[in-house]
Symmetry: C2
Subunit: 214 residues, 2 copies
DNA sequence: TAGATTGTTAATCGATTAACAATC
DNA sequence: TAGATTGTTAATCGATTAACAATC
């Protein structure tokens, strides 16, 4: 691996797409893939793919292409998917429940180890064999179960305090679905999703279409 | 509005964040906000905000700032949130069900008008007053209910055929949660979310941290 | 008026695309 | 060998940041 190259955020965001597509290809039985064809399947230019991959090493064979299985393994290692990550979901509402049941995460090496909620009715239940704990036990259970990543699916007004508790309890990454800006220390990796952004951006484009059509 | 300026994708993706924050400010009773303070709340530089807004018009007052209510109305209009959009959810699995129950959409002007699923057990049920129809009736119901946007939450292998049906039935936008690249005609606005991207990107950074710490 | 803050132009930075030598 | 395709450097494009005149 090349050590001193700065890898762009854009590249890192494309890697999961490469991984996903390589896995599909592998399932289909493909052994070799060119950047041309891979690009077509992903919706990215072949140059982009070659450039992205080249910041991590030389994975292809000139005049031939990339070996699907080998490239998948390499991209998987770059993404840290060769090891297992323990995650906890905080907030068993509709979204938290959907994520707790999402089988895809497991196949990527993410293991849900705990779920937290304040609702007494939910505490003690099991979702896919994972126990639901009272939020008050978060500080105790996060280190006990060696949780690396916390997923926040609580209402916006509670998100910051949940984030603070997760950080204090020792998680190293937070995946936030509450529509607020969270403040966390520098060393914590925070990714926020806002589900209304996608829909709103569709709304933007559709309104323009109507104007254009006038 | 300025007509001939090309607005960058990055700008459009930030607008929903501006809108969300302005709404919070308004609920807090703030009447005026500077780009400086707004930037702090959103996590964006003040220059960025002024630049973004200036592609649509002059919404601020020099030496003063922006009137919260007025700016919110303007950004809302830019995003097409001043009108109502009818949406349909295809696939009432865990995720589809979470989206169907997500109250936030309603407050932005998105009205869920229909839900489709193949499961006979689910057909006929109601989620928040919205009826669940058999997928076979999609072609009939989309135009009847004047659905503008279709949300795809079916398993990956069925996503393309659902997209085709939605397009044929007349939707103009598709919000896709299935982890596959969908092909749709040029005039259809497609936004794809892949929930595993966020988690995988956290995994990438956490693996690096470990290496750095060695 | 003086202080504050916008809107906009110019400078910088970063990411994508094009081109092509290296080589399988 | 000839054809194909990578890896990489250079050129282009686009987005962000800095600076400041305009003006409330």
């Amino acid at each position: 691996m090349k050590e001193h190259i700065v890898i762009s955020k854009a590249t890192i965001d494309r890697l999961p797409l490469y991984f996903r597509t390589l896995r599909t290809l592998q399932e289909e039985g493909a052994e070799i893939i060119s950047s041309e064809e891979l690009g077509r399947r992903i919706g990215v230019t072949p140059e982009q793919i070659r450039k992205d991959l080249s910041s991590f090493g030389e994975f292809g064979k000139k005049g031939v292409g990339y070996y699907v299985r080998e490239l998948m393994r390499n991209v998987g290692e770059i993404l840290g998917l060769h090891r297992n990550w323990n995650i906890a979901i905080v907030g068993l509402g509709h979204l938290g429940s959907a994520l707790a049941n999402y089988r895809n995460f497991v196949s990527l090496g993410f293991n849900i180890k705990a779920i937290f909620d304040v609702d007494r009715e939910k505490v003690g239940q099991h979702i896919q064999d994972v126990e639901v704990y009272s939020l008050s036990r978060l500080t105790e259970i996060i280190p006990a179960k060696n949780i690396h990543i916390g997923v926040i699916t609580v209402p916006a007004q509670f998100a910051q305090q949940v984030a603070d508790k997760l950080v204090a309890a020792g998680v190293r990454g937070i995946w936030n679905f509450a529509p607020v800006k969270l403040n966390v220390p520098e060393h914590i990796r925070l990714i926020s999703e806002d589900l209304s952004v996608g829909l709103t951006s569709i709304s933007y484009y559709l309104s323009r279409q109507l104007i254009d059509e006038d």
